[in-house]
């Protein structure tokens, strides 16, 4: 599967390279500027895509040597992180970096463009990817060699990372599609790792929805090409501006629907809380952090660069409100913390869409800042939850309890990002939300003001949801209550209790994969809530008794990357000044549109593209 994704992405590159060797090949070599010196900045641009792909092949070849495989992946993702940060710094100095792959001119070839937004996204995503990789390596080391299918984990994970990088760097719509497909194909494999019943169930929804969204995207690309004759993001602004209004609106809508499914924006978000929680903890963490954000990135890129008039801004505002409120109400109703966090993930996508829909530079800057914050925080929370699951044997609030006493460190690790998510000052979540609210108030319209109210409400409800999880999991007393009820349950529901007992016993033997499957099958047999209550309570009472050894060990190797990511989340608060400046610069760059076009096609083409602020009828707001 991953091989297909890799092949698919490599195919256009190979074609381009092949033709480039011919003497009659296109003139204007993209890398000609770099031939004088050994290394110039644009040389770095393809690395975040190439290095993980090469490493994926290497890791697949080393499938039998776990250590070597882990080393290859870690080194590769470290290189990607270093490259991304270097590019982020370089872009501040020398401006947007462009590489036209294979030396084809930008209009017909594939261009990779690293501007401020791309490199910022790339840096954060690769930091998070590396952290999750270290976590999962430690988890694998702790669990021993029983999990045989894990041999494909590393290659697939690397392809996922390459796909994410490709999507961020892509300079044309079709390459963006290829990036999406790479990361989706990899995510299918990761989500259904081991092929247990629960994962197949969750995976089938996810795969079908993802394929449907990809087909919508593909159709949109075909329509864009039919209308303009190009899929290049730098060429499109000029040609789209020349199009009929109705045609442009149709293209905008079809692209928005495609990206809306990927970003899990409200009416298109039902697949997410259904599918994410069943995956292993590190996989859920990286999905939650990255995959939806790639969709948000695509929305930002296309809305600013291609469709600057903002005719759908009102629609986006309504959708953002619905995403925030419906998402968080879903979170409040959940009793499983993983599912709760999946719903908050949907809900907080609404904040980013809000920032995009407001359309001012300030709104965009806040949305970008919020994406950076949310990638870090959401990933960290899922990683911590993986640790909680190891320590407490469950992620359900009905089963957990007294974790604060069991492991104060986990308490801190959960508390900080949870409060960050809810937006408690002075953390970065608060700064992002304040930025969005300011942008909404500055806009002054009725709808943005309603959105401001909605975002405050969502923030409060997020606080309620995570505080509930925190109270129930870390401070409640399940053991005493559980034991008392257990005797009662044994009297009343002896058969049911016995079945769940054996279910739970098996659960604690194996990893979370089996656990979810068992839990679901146990749940499925519960006919009425009496049985459910008995199952829940015996679960709470039995867990600590049956497996005292298994759950009291949380490997240091897993705690360290989690703590590092918590620290990264905190550093976003400390570094909020410079970060906001980068976000504002990139928002300004997006708003002007010309820098992007100039970097890819040159000054003459850029002059034919009007900046956003001059296109809109309102002038000043898109």
């Amino acid at each position: 599967m991953s091989g297909v994704g890799a092949l698919a992405s490599a195919l256009p590159h190979l074609l381009a390279l092949g033709v480039d060797d011919a003497p009659t090949g296109p003139q204007g070599l993209g890398l000609r500027a770099t031939q004088g010196q050994v290394l110039e900045w644009p040389t770095l641009v393809p690395l975040p895509v190439l290095v993980p792909l090469v490493a994926a092949g290497l890791a697949l070849a080393l499938a039998r040597h776990r250590r070597a495989q882990a080393a290859v992946s870690t080194v590769a993702l470290s290189v990607v992180l270093a490259t991304s940060v270097a590019m982020l710094l370089a872009v501040q100095d020398v401006g947007t970096l462009v590489v036209t792959v294979g030396g084809w001119p930008a209009a017909s070839g594939i261009s990779l463009v690293a501007d401020q937004l791309s490199t910022l996204m790339l840096s954060v995503s690769s930091a998070v990817t590396l952290g999750v990789l270290v976590y999962s390596v430690a988890q694998g080391a702790a669990d021993g060699d029983d999990g045989a299918p894990v041999a494909i984990f590393h290659p697939t994970y690397l392809v996922l990372s390459a796909g994410v990088s490709n999507a961020f760097l892509s300079g044309d719509l079709f390459n963006l599609y290829v990036g999406f497909e790479m990361l989706l194909a990899a995510s299918f494999v990761l989500l259904t790792l081991g092929g247990t019943s629960a994962r197949i169930r969750a995976g089938s929804t996810y795969v079908v929805v993802s394929i449907a969204s990809s087909l919508v995207f593909l159709a949109a690309i075909a329509l864009v090409y039919a209308a303009t004759g190009t899929a290049n993001l730098a060429q499109l602004p000029e040609r789209l501006d020349a199009l009929d209004d109705g045609v442009r609106l149709a293209l905008q809508l079809s692209l928005l629907v495609a990206f809306g499914i990927k970003a899990a924006v409200f009416p298109l978000s039902a697949w997410l809380p259904d599918s994410y929680p069943t995956a292993p903890a590190p996989v859920t963490a990286v999905f939650a952090g990255l995959l939806t954000k790639v969709g948000v990135y695509a929305i930002i890129r296309t809305q600013t660069l291609l469709f600057p008039e903002g005719r759908l801004d009102d629609l986006l505002l309504v959708v953002a409100l619905a995403t925030m409120v419906v998402g968080i109400l879903g979170a409040v109703a959940q009793s499983d913390v993983k599912r709760l966090l999946s719903f908050t993930l949907v809900s907080h996508i609404g904040y980013m869409v809000f920032g995009i829909a407001v359309g001012s530079v300030a709104g965009l800057a806040s949305a970008i800042f919020y994406v950076v914050h949310h990638i870090t925080v959401q990933t960290t929370l899922f990683l911590v939850l993986g640790l909680v699951e190891r320590r407490g044997g469950s992620t359900s609030m009905d089963h957990l309890g007294g974790m604060a006493k069991l492991s104060p460190l986990l308490g801190v690790l959960f508390f900080v990002p949870a409060m960050n998510l809810a937006g408690i000052p002075p953390l970065s979540g608060f700064l992002g939300k304040v930025g969005l609210i300011q942008a909404g108030v500055a806009d002054g319209g009725v709808l943005p003001l309603v959105l401001v109210g909605g975002s405050v409400l969502t923030s409060l409800l997020t606080l309620y949801a995570v505080a509930k999880a925190w109270n129930r999991a870390f401070w409640s007393r399940p053991a005493t209550v559980g034991r008392e009820e257990e005797t009662r349950a044994d009297d009343d529901e002896a058969p049911d209790a016995a079945t769940t007992l054996s279910g739970v016993g098996e659960v604690s033997q194996r990893q979370d994969a089996v656990e979810r499957a068992q839990g679901v099958s146990a749940v499925a047999t519960r006919e009425d809530d009496e049985a459910a209550a008995a199952g829940a309570l015996t679960g709470a009472a039995v867990d600590p008794e049956r497996t005292p050894v298994e759950m009291t060990r949380v490997p240091r190797g897993m705690v360290a990357p989690t703590a590092a990511l918590v620290a990264l989340g905190l550093s976003l608060t400390v570094l909020a000044g410079p970060l906001l400046r980068v976000a504002e610069d990139s928002a300004l760059e997006l708003d002007q549109r010309q820098p992007y076009v100039r970097a890819v096609l040159g000054q003459a083409a850029a002059d034919r593209v009007a900046p956003t602020t001059q296109v809109g009828p309102a002038g000043g707001s898109r």
């Binding site: 698919a8 256009p12 009659t24 497909e181 989706l184 039919a226 259904d274 129930r472 749940v523 209550a533």
Partner: protein, 172 residues
């Protein structure tokens, strides 16, 4: 340029039947639907590439008379990708059949539970009655009452007397 009507009709039929099949519950039918839809969209690329021309090989014809090679390259990539995804979907349908004896997409169990609680007007499973700041004696009495009642959930305040009474009538 006016697009060929036949191609547009083919796209329409393929995508429409594909959408119809994707809405089915059986993964195999979904798979067939996905194949039809993706083929329809591949044909859409042919529409996008404009009128047919000479093969786009360097030196074989005048560039002006060649057909547009770019959509062809895109379709080629899209076909390869769809092939991979289809293979994966097929494997998953097979695995689902192995595990369950059928390949139907199932409902989310946890989701159904949450919905069931809403229908029965109960408090969420994550609600903790011990959070209430009730005096100790009252709470222990509460617990004794709960002991006698058919379900511990009956004592949750959100339940209301009507539900509790109804529950008693229904019996355990």
């Amino acid at each position: 340029m006016s697009p060929a009507l036949v191609l547009v009709a083919v796209v329409f039929v393929l995508v429409a039947t594909g959408v119809y099949l994707v809405l089915e519950r059986s993964l195999t039918r979904v798979l067939v639907g996905v194949i039809l839809m993706s083929n329809g969209i591949n044909v859409l690329f042919l529409v996008a590439s404009g009128a047919a021309g000479e093969p786009a090989l360097v030196g074989s014809a005048e560039p002006a008379r060649m057909s547009d090679p770019l959509p062809q390259a895109m379709v080629l990539t899209a076909i390869v990708i769809t092939l991979g995804l289809t293979a994966f979907l097929l494997a998953m349908a097979y695995r689902s059949w192995q595990l369950h004896g059928h390949d139907e997409v199932q409902d989310d169990v946890e989701d159904r539970q949450v919905r069931g609680r809403a229908v029965r007007d109960e408090t969420s499973g994550s609600y903790d009655p011990d959070d209430e700041e009730a005096p100790v004696e009252e709470r222990s009495e509460d617990r004794r009452r709960a002991h006698a009642s058919p379900s511990p959930r009956d004592r949750s305040p959100g339940d209301g007397p009507r539900r509790a009474a109804q529950r008693r009538e229904e019996g355990p």
